[in-house]
């Protein structure tokens, strides 16, 4: 197979975290009993009218700011007309020519062939639209049922320029967009609940070509993995076609997750004519500079700013900062812990070390923790101030993460609290030395190796009384005398 350059563009759909739907006051929450979250408006009853949810507009603009977009001060909604039973009005309210946000850029970092790379992916536009309902096909009874709970949930569609050239880049882009949307506070980005999903456009071209090849589109990919596999398969499939002297057909293809293949769904000739036109029921959106500034100023801290804070204010390494920030839940947890105990480096080490180890072992998920940030902070502080040994802190943490609970109580129960009773230390060491006369004699005779053995005996006997450092000092003193 000769070498082709893949050209990839994405359309990422993200559900906004507003309390209510985009054109009515129904709850926009995920789930709920079938058709329990709909009203005459979102179920498309005759005579009803959509009224725009200003929070949804604001969230879409926030997403735009997070992705470095220009905001159109004058924006228009349009109707996209097509018949489908999950769309009760038979049109989707969307935006065609004047979307809320245009001309953004999202920097990505990714690894390719073991090399770390960066790239800027340009955003063509972000527009606001409504989600459709869900169809449930009951093959047993031969009926299809519609659930309109999702109907009218606000969605933004983020459309990129065709700036990506590998599955790795596309995956990194979707991950970065998810992160930005989470930090902007506008989407929870739960792929498994469909709150973020992507359409992928792929074409390939020879390095000598001046024009892009014919593209195909894979719709509704709902995991990062599926996005990567669909792209890889499509690059392979198109390459094979061109190698055989055949042509790629412009069409929509369905990605079959089980087979890892794409299959033709609808060709260009059979593509819908959506007969877009300006939505007459919704007034144009007009922003003043003041309004846009207010939205911009209300934007929470974004990943790049947070990495800066961690490195500049907290003195964390860039790598540590990035690991934390790459997961908002973890990073928020870190911030809460730092609030309780102002030693960011220690807390970062514990989270990136111990907590990440548990997560990577699959014992914990990032979201599911039995303990609070304050409890973790307390544990780290106890280790730092030598109330427990560093090693024992790990044991206490294991207990905390399994069952929860206060680290001090756990340490006490397990007898791991260090009392620093120096009188007792001296007494116990004397006792150990007395019980190990032979070893002491060996040491005094010049066999320094035996120190470790004596030290071990003392540590065992002094568990929970003091740190090994204190034992070592005391022991050395005693042995010299």
């Amino acid at each position: 197979m000769s070498a082709y350059i893949p050209v990839i563009g994405l359309e990422v759909h993200a559900e906004l975290l507003t309390k209510s739907k985009v054109f009515c006051t129904c709850s926009a929450e995920f789930g709920g009993g079938k058709n329990s979250r709909c009203c005459p408006v979102c179920s498309g009853m005759p005579g009803t009218l959509p009224v725009i949810n200003q929070t949804a507009v604001e969230y879409a603009v926030k997403a735009g700011f997070a992705m470095g977009c220009d905001i159109n001060k004058f924006s228009v909604f349009d109707r996209k007309n097509y018949f489908y039973p999950d769309l009760p009005k038979a049109y989707q309210i969307s935006q065609l020519n004047l979307p809320l946000c245009i001309n953004g850029v999202v920097p990505i970092e990714y690894e390719e062939d073991g090399v770390k790379k960066t790239k800027n992916i340009r955003i063509n536009r972000i527009h606001l639209e409504e989600d459709a309902g869900k169809l449930i096909h009951d093959d047993l009874n031969g009926v299809s049922l519609a659930d309109y709970n999702r109907c009218g949930v606000p969605l933004i569609e983020i459309v990129t320029e065709p700036d990506m050239s590998s599955a790795a880049e596309a995956k990194a882009f979707v991950e970065k967009v998810s992160l930005l949307l989470q930090y902007a506070g506008v989407c929870d980005c739960k792929m498994e609940q469909g709150s973020i999903r992507a359409d992928v456009n792929v074409s390939i071209m020879k390095p000598t070509d001046t024009e892009f090849g014919t593209r195909t589109e894979m719709k509704n990919l709902n995991s990062i993995k599926a996005i990567g596999r669909a792209i890889d398969f499509e690059i392979y499939r198109q390459g094979k076609l061109l190698d055989m002297g055949k042509k790629v057909v412009q069409e929509t293809r369905r990605f079959d997750d089980n087979r890892g293949e794409t299959k033709a769904m609808r060709s260009k000739e059979n593509a819908h004519d959506y007969r877009y036109f300006p939505e007459p029921d919704i007034l144009q959106v007009n922003f003043t500079d003041e309004q846009l500034d207010a939205i911009k100023n209300s934007l929470p801290e974004l990943p790049a700013q947070r990495i800066m804070r961690y490195t500049n204010e907290y003195g964390l390494s860039e790598n540590d900062a990035k690991i934390l920030v790459a997961n908002k839940i973890l990073s928020d947890f870190f911030d809460a812990a730092v609030k309780a105990y102002n030693n960011p480096k220690s807390i970062c080490n514990f989270i990136n070390g111990e907590l990440m180890r548990r997560i990577n072992l699959g014992e914990r998920t990032r979201e599911n923790r039995a303990f609070t940030a304050e409890q973790l902070a307390k544990l780290v502080e106890m280790a730092d101030t030598e109330k427990v040994s560093k090693n024992d802190a790990k044991d206490i943490f294991r207990e905390m993460s399994d069952k929860g609970g206060d680290p001090e109580v756990i340490a006490k129960d397990k007898g791991l609290l260090i009392s620093n009773d120096l009188g007792k230390v001296a007494e116990v060491i004397e006792k150990v030395l007395a019980e190990n006369e032979k070893a002491v004699a060996q040491y005094k005779g010049g066999d320094m190796k035996v120190f470790g053995f004596i030290m071990g005996q003392c540590t065992k006997a002094l568990k929970g009384v003091c740190t090994p450092k204190v034992i070592k000092e005391e022991l050395e003193k005693k042995l010299k005398s």
């Binding site: 005459p40 179920s43 498309g44 009853m45 005759p46 005579g47 009803t48 009218l49 959509p50 009224v51 725009i52 109707r79 007309n81 018949f83 489908y84 039973p85 009760p88 009005k89 038979a90 049109y91 299809s144 519609a146 004519d273 007969r275 877009y276 036109f277 007459p280 029921d281 919704i282 007034l283």
Partner: protein, 483 residues
Amino acid sequence: MDLTAQKIGDLRSMLDKKEISAKELTNAYLDRISSVDDKLESFITVTAEAAEKAAEKAQEIINKGEASALCGIPLAIKDNICTDGVKTTCASKMLEDFVPFYNATVMDKLENEGAVMLGKVSMDEFAMGGSTQTSAFKKTKNPYDLGRVPGGSSGGSAAAVSASLCAAALGSDTGGSIRQPSAFCGVTGLKPTYGRVSRYGLIAFASSLDQIGPIAKSAEDCAIILNAIAGYDPHDGTSSKNEVPDFTAKIGQDIKGMKIAVPKEFYAEGIDDEVRNAVLNAADYYKSLGAELVDCSMPSLKYAVASYYLISSAEASSNLSRFDGIKYGHRSEEGENFAELISNSRREGFGEEVKRRIMLGNYALSSGYYDAYYGKAMALKQKIREEYESIFTGCDVILTPTAPTVAYGVNENISDPAKMYQADICTVTVNIASLPGISTTCGYDSKGMPIGMSIIGKKWDEATIIQAADAFEKNFARQNASL
């Protein structure tokens, strides 16, 4: 005295003075409906029982001395305005059995006023037409001549008011659907400024043009009803937050010095001589009252009908897409899959005129045709608005005929849609420009059929056109319908 022939103000004082009870009044209309509506065919649904109950409730309010202007006043409602628990058909087989479980905002407002709904009146199917002959259920007749149409699409509303089957009625106006039937039936109809009255619950025909408004026996009655139904509605994003004035405030004020523009294109070829003369006579009458007549021109008028039919049909094609027989409405017995089921349901449920407009609208919006049709129509809309703005720099109101002819025979024109569409030339620009317009009777032709004139106002200035219409009505002897 014939109770049912009275205006709202007179009924109000009779009710408040306890000369009649609300129930007696309601029953007087119900009796009249029973006795003549099988000839007139204006009501699709008569809600007699609910009306009597509403009248009893109104009486309690009257007895407490808390009655507002419409308390106990019996009204008819166009059948495209959603009424909670009462069938709302749009005069279409598609919605033959459709019973909304919500009220249009205007219905909530009327109920709060204590108004009494007598029932739902006929119209052209989905408000598409000017004759009420496209109704799937009641092809309403003209009370002045049962062989003629009442106009449309609010033909049921206008005929019922004209024949005194109700004190007044609500209609809706997308391209003349309140004003033209009011002219044909010899009554007064007001199309408010777009955004003045909430459209929530009005089953949409063309969303950017539709507006609910009153049809009544006088301009003053229209003002009383508009007072009750106007105002911002959080359920309609296009309804205006502008302050709502008292629309009766200017009634009776001298119109001396009022500048009335007479745009020559509205009096050109195609307008029936008797109609033109009657409207020009009215203009002279205004002059005799001290008004100043201003010559003006609207060059784009010749494109107005084309522009209107493209915009309204485009919007309608989308608005009517939801009628697929899946959730409500007519569902075909035939159909192996979704596509077959909805196309069969729509084929069976919609009438010819509705299908024609859906086809036209879809065509106008199709890729490759959009710029040539919908795009051009939108550009013309802008042009027409600018021409109105320019005319209004030199006048207070504009005077035109409401329709090129008087009411025609029930079997005329129906087969020639292009001719039917052209008859809307006098009214459509008002909707395109979002302006308020009122039609009142200004004369009768040689056969005794009413002739309507329209007074068009500046945006949000309904009060002035009501004042002007009232000034004419006060000195004009209306001839009652023969029915």
